[in-house]
């Protein structure tokens, strides 16, 4: 791999720009899609690899190529810069999620409480979520326990294509939340997208244990294993 190819790949990653690396086997000649003009068969295969986020071999015009897509990391938006969120951030980063923590309360979303690979946003949750535009590669979890903060976030989340929506709170808390979201005009099917009580049932008690159960559930959703 040449320094130029490596720099282009890393710049694309930093900019969250999808790019496919094509390597001819066995001589190792490399091309980038969509940066370079490619024969139609290769360009199509590269496009498919990006769409499916799947690497694999392809034969085109008698040549063997290996196509490796580099897609932007899926995102996790956490509403509530609370204790569980502090435990969640490093675990999310470890499984390859780009994490944003949203909390308008001044004392919570601080650099001191959140070191490392995380974006902190102090806007109101609905404004923040609208600006972040959750898509098919976004998971959203609300942790504030406060309807004033969680509900506006869930309202926006339910109108999005987010692949995972989770909300902290007991069954009783959730029943009241369902009533409020119904009043906001959300149907039963939409509301059933919300995972609550949040996380896989591993008997989690401490903040890191709850964070682990949430991350496990997000991974299961991402991998199509969530019942």
């Amino acid at each position: 791999m040449t320094p130029e190819t490596l720099e282009t790949l890393q710049a694309a990653r930093a900019a969250r720009r999808p790019v496919a690396l094509l390597t001819r086997l066995p001589d190792g000649a490399q091309r980038l899609h969509p940066d370079e003009a490619l024969p139609p068969a290769l360009a199509e295969a590269a496009e498919a690899a990006l769409r499916d986020d799947r690497a694999g071999p392809v034969t085109a015009e008698g040549e063997s190529w290996f196509i490796q897509p580099q897609t932007p990391p899926p995102r996790l938006i956490v509403v509530g810069a609370v204790h569980v969120a502090q435990a969640l951030v490093p675990m999310a980063a470890a499984v390859g999620l780009a994490v944003t923590v949203v909390d308008p309360r001044r004392a919570f979303a601080t650099e001191e409480r959140f070191a490392g690979d995380v974006t902190l946003v102090d806007d109101w949750p609905d404004d923040a979520l609208l600006a972040l535009r959750p898509d098919l590669r976004t998971a959203i979890v609300t942790l504030t326990h406060d309807p004033k903060l969680d509900d506006p976030a869930l309202d926006v989340a339910l109108k999005s294509e987010a692949f995972y929506i989770g909300a902290l709170g007991s069954r009783r808390t959730h029943a009241k939340r369902v009533a409020r979201l119904t009043e906001l005009g959300h149907g039963e099917e939409a509301i059933s997208r919300i995972r609550a009580p949040v996380g896989l049932d591993i008997g989690a008690v401490t903040a890191p244990e709850i964070a682990l159960s949430v991350i496990a559930q997000v991974v299961a959703a991402r991998r199509g294993k969530l019942a």
């Binding site: 791999m1 086997l25 190792g28 690497a55 290996f66 490796q68 990391p73 470890a94 390859g96």
Partner: protein
Amino acid sequence: MSGSEDILETARAWRAEGERVALATVVETWGSSPRPAGSRLAVTGTGRLAGSVSGGCIEGAVADVAKQVMETGAPQLLDFGITDERAWEVGLACGGKLKVFVEPLT
């Protein structure tokens, strides 16, 4: 979540430190291979490793080839778990088969 660890960034950092670096990439798998196509292992001339191309069964053999690749500058395409007479042939305990492409980071 594929490629969650940024092996290329590690490789770039090692290169910037003046290390010689080779990159190994799983390009095809059959059966029960532990790491999917696209999985990467970076290897340096001084023997540092980042990432993986298997569950640990073939990393040693790949690192040996990586050193040759750094010496010669010529990439190599390796078959593992397939019966042949090559010196670097090692078995996969899991019974899987895979192809690994090893290239120098120039």
